[in-house]
Amino acid sequence: MTALEQILAKLRKELAGVFVSTDIVGMDGLSIAGGSIDPAFDATAASARFATVAKLGKEISEKLQLGEMDDLLITTDQVYIIQRLIGDGSYYWGLAVSKDATLGMVRLLMKEYVGEIWKAIPK
């Protein structure tokens, strides 16, 4: 198991009960690590689209002069999907949790882990 996979496994444990899926994706749309509890919920298949979503979020922040993009939260009738740029912005981290999750806690957890994940990405 790679360092990156170990970090994601640890995070999954912390989010037990609400975890749905996670992925670390390059801005080229290719996933480098991740996993899901539900095979139907295939984040890797949508990672290229979500990479464009992250890029657009970044562009909008710049265009509207709102400062650097921090994260993007999408609420659906089933899950929360949070995207966060990693390190220099060449990767993003996508995480989906069920709607039973305490959103504030999840975002805090992501903030804590994001530095560790960036360090673990092979450069």
């Binding site: 949508a46 509207l64 709102l66 994260d71």
Partner: protein, 246 residues
């Protein structure tokens, strides 16, 4: 005995009223260009009406004639007493006839006013602008808001300070569309709303009913409260949906 006059001197409702007060047999002959109508009165009521010369009301008789001629602008009249009605086609009391007729004219005028090009759109834009101003008062640290069509064009934009919300509309639309299709691809349900958090701001968006437009709100991250922004976006998206054409 016959009295002649012009309808711009004495209007039809007044003439009808006078004829009914007379309680005798009366006939009023009204001419308006090529159109003409005959109204017959007996015992203080209109008993018969017929008109001709008007394509829409050719050979028309009864109450509808009264409703139609009340709207005639100008023309001549001849009021004669002692003329017997050839038929009885009206039973409704004269005052009820006048009320109904005048109501119809009001409704007709209103419909014409509403169909004036640009009028409805103007009102809608004003209403939406006011709505966004009202929204701004509910959000601490409010930077601005907009209602954008899925073609990327802003329907209304409201901003305070220097942020140019219009500039981001096209990209916001791309983002909203892409999020929607990505979530669908992911089998993750349907999108309720989105939140973009930046160094300085929160940007919340939400679809309006029908999914043809979305509402976006931007506010200062240091002052605004995300929960409040969600709530405000929900309430005002509902209000805006009612103002926009479906």
């Amino acid at each position: 005995m016959a009295i002649e006059g012009f309808l711009n001197e004495i209007d039809l409702p007044t003439l009808i009223q006078l004829a009914c007060q007379d309680k005798n047999k009366v006939r009023i002959h009204v001419k308006n260009g090529d159109r003409q109508a005959f109204l017959y009165f007996a015992d203080g009521n209109v008993v018969h009406a017929a008109c001709s010369g008007d394509k829409e009301s050719a050979k028309q008789e009864g109450e509808e004639v009264i409703y139609r001629i009340l709207d005639w602008q100008g023309g001549k009249f001849i009021m004669e007493t002692g003329v017997e009605a050839p038929d009885q086609t009206i039973q409704t009391p004269w005052n009820a006839l006048l009320i109904e007729g005048l109501q119809r004219i009001d409704e007709q005028n209103l419909a014409v006013e509403e169909s004036v090009p640009g009028k409805e759109e103007g009102n809608m834009a004003d209403d939406l602008n006011s709505l966004l101003k009202e929204l701004g008062q509910q959000v601490p640290g409010y930077f601005g808001s907009s209602i954008v069509g899925m073609d990327g064009l802003g329907v209304v934009v409201d901003s305070v300070g220097e942020t140019d919300h219009e500039a981001g509309n096209a990209q916001m639309t791309e983002l909203v569309k892409l999020v929607d299709s990505s979530v669908e691809k992911l089998n993750a349900g349907s999108v309720e709303h989105g939140l973009l958090t930046t160094e300085n701001a929160y940007l919340v968006w939400r679809f309006l009913e029908g999914g043809q437009y979305f509402l976006s709100i931007t506010a200062d991250r240091g002052t605004a409260n995300v929960g409040n922004m969600y709530l405000v976006s929900r309430v005002f998206a509902e209000k805006a949906s009612k103002l926009l054409p479906s």
